[in-house]
């Protein structure tokens, strides 16, 4: 089951430049929340603060309160154990090229010290089914490298890899921007089904995509969260002028 995310007074920096200013947001469990905004507004930085990937960049730091379920992300929990409970899918598909498809999916389990072969088989199968990739790879998954798949398949493999460790939250940073429309459609369909089990936060620069997959949408501009509401409301009657300008394509 997914859990909710509560963010209070989150600030983030790259060296001396501040990339996020006082973000406050409450993300509902088992729903999909979209993060939209013009390029460079801090969407990626925001989701990367949720699983503390932000601090892996040299000189980058973050401060504030982030609660994911019971977990206080920036206080008393190690970054490693946070990341184990939050899945992340990146803009560019990044399967491990030296591993088979099976090993790619099982890699998170192995890192966690999980050694039970039979359970691993089950989990790999289940994760590939979640990611709607099972039918396409079940016969070749032990032989074929993760790099031998098409771009869309690679991205679904990355989703399967993230889901294998049963995260409570799945973060997706523009997961479809490197994919063709058909693969994009498949992944959007997937998001619909995954919501039942996970809380999803998806960054997208595609507003149609946000309105298709997300119940809630947050609009970011220049490192600030301008408006956060039901997706329908954001796209029909936004309460902030800047949101309206962006939605109607007057800038961005």
């Amino acid at each position: 089951m997914g859990v909710g995310i509560k963010v209070e007074h989150l600030n983030a920096w790259f060296g001396k430049t501040q990339a996020l200013h006082d973000i406050n947001i409450a993300i509902a469990s088992n729903h999909c929340t979209a993060v939209i905004g013009p390029s460079g507004c801090g969407k990626s930085t925001f989701v990367r603060c949720l699983n503390r990937m932000h601090e892996t960049i040299p000189d980058a730091k973050a401060a504030g309160k982030v609660e994911i379920g019971e977990m206080d992300v920036y206080n008393g929990t190690s970054a490693v154990s946070i990341r184990r409970r939050i899945g992340m899918v990146f803009q560019k598909p990044n399967p491990f090229p030296t591993m088979s498809i099976y090993d790619n999916v099982a890699s998170g389990l192995k890192l966690n010290g999980f050694r039970d072969r039979k359970r691993t088989d089950e989990i790999v199968e289940r994760s590939l089914k979640y990611a709607a990739l099972w039918e396409e790879v079940k016969d070749t998954m032990h032989k074929k490298s993760g790099a031998g798949l098409s771009g869309g398949q690679q991205q679904r493999l990355c989703i399967a890899r993230a889901l294998a460790v049963e995260p409570q939250v799945l973060l997706m940073d523009e997961p479809c921007s490197a994919l063709d429309p058909i693969s994009t459609g498949k992944i959007e369909e997937l998001i619909f089904q995954l919501k039942e089990k996970f809380t999803i936060v998806i960054v997208t620069h595609n507003m149609q995509q946000a309105s298709r997959v997300a119940e809630f949408t947050g609009f970011f501009l220049l490192g600030k969260l301008i408006e956060f509401d039901k997706t329908e409301k954001i796209f029909t009657t936004p309460s902030d002028k800047r949101t309206e300008d962006y939605i109607t394509g007057r800038f961005g």
Partner: protein, 344 residues
């Protein structure tokens, strides 16, 4: 005036000086600065010269092979394949078997790799992934510098520092605790296979570590992020996200180091003991292919003796060439972007 304006180079007939000056002025203004279809000769000469340079390298390699093959013919006919499996090297009776040299070369090189590879990979990992930024440059530079030290200097250092150290401290300790393996027994001279292996290891470290560094840098950042996002520790990230992706190239670097160790002559000759014997103990003196050629060539009087030395050289040459080709191929397989392709 119309054709002057176009910058036509020819002005027909003799003309007053004044007029010519004017012509020069106008054409200077309107003629294109770079002439289209200008002189092609410099370009051709340049390409031919470069081609010649390229071919001369091939010619040199070919000449070396031809020379080695013809000069070793006598020995090849006398001993055939036996040459490489017989262990008596007896110039007095004109009997030559190269096995002790082959053995010495292989054992000293493998020993060097066993010692050098973990250290070299450790250095590379530290420099690329963990080192504070201000230390990166100096450390990388110093490692590279090790490769620039002439091998005779290494040899001197080994004789004055390494060998006494081995004799006084290391070998007695090894004999006491590890003597039962049979690898560390016999009188601790200091000089011998162990000293050769260690000095070779020091010479091989910069090669392996700079190659490893290069291929590690070629691994895309997204691979590191993918592993980190799965909840990997830093070490797991380096192991799964970096070393695993770079492994073919690292292997290439190791083999390149092997090539260096196989052919190294001076430093080894100074510390290995130069005795054509095959002993299990690493304390015992040995001999390598490169060393025997360097030591005995000037005093090789008989035709067969000379030919046998050249045959040793031919074998060494072929092995190092093959090893180097293999190494380059492996490194290339990583740096041309095999792991990167997975992300595109």
């Amino acid at each position: 005036m119309a054709n002057h304006a176009l910058g036509a180079p020819h002005v027909s007939g003799p003309q007053p000086t004044e007029k010519t000056l004017v012509v020069v002025e106008t054409s200077a203004q309107s003629a294109p600065l770079v002439q289209v279809g200008g002189n092609e000769w410099p370009d051709r000469v340049f390409s031919w010269t470069m081609l010649l340079c390229g071919l001369s390298v091939l010619a040199i390699v070919a000449l070396i092979i031809v020379e080695l093959v013809t000069k070793s013919n006598l020995s090849w006919h006398a001993f055939g394949w036996r040459f490489f499996v017989q262990s008596d090297w007896d110039p007095v009776n004109d009997q030559y078997g190269a096995l002790p040299f082959v053995y010495g070369t292989i054992v000293s090189s493998v020993l060097a790799l066993v010692l050098a590879v973990p250290l070299a990979i450790g250095v590379a990992v530290f420099i690329t992934e963990m080192c504070p930024r201000w230390l990166k440059g100096p450390l990388a530079f110093t490692t590279e510098l090790l490769a620039a030290i002439p091998s005779v200097i290494y040899g001197l250092w080994a004789i004055f520092v390494l060998v006494p150290l081995l004799r006084e401290y290391v070998q007695p300790w090894l004999a006491k605790y590890w003597g039962w393996t049979g690898l560390f027994e016999g009188p601790p001279y200091g000089i011998g296979m162990l000293a050769a292996g260690i000095i070779l290891a020091i010479m091989v470290v910069p090669i392996v570590s700079s190659m490893t560094r290069e291929v590690m840098t070629a691994v895309p950042q997204q691979q590191r992020e993918a592993v980190l996002a799965l909840g990997a520790t830093r070490w797991e990230m380096i192991r799964v996200g970096v070393l695993r992706n770079a492994r073919a190239g690292i292997l290439g670097g190791i083999i390149l180091g092997l090539g260096r160790a196989l052919g190294e002559t001076m430093a080894v000759t100074m510390v290995i003991g130069n005795r054509p014997e095959i002993a299990k103990s690493l304390f015992a003196p040995g001999y390598t292919m490169a060393s025997v050629i360097a030591n005995e060539f000037s005093e090789a009087t008989g035709d067969v003796y000379l030919s046998a030395l050249v045959e040793v050289g031919l074998a060494l040459f072929l092995v190092t060439i093959i090893v180097n080709i293999l190494a380059q191929f492996l490194v290339w397989s990583v740096t041309r972007g095999t792991p990167a392709r997975a992300n595109g």
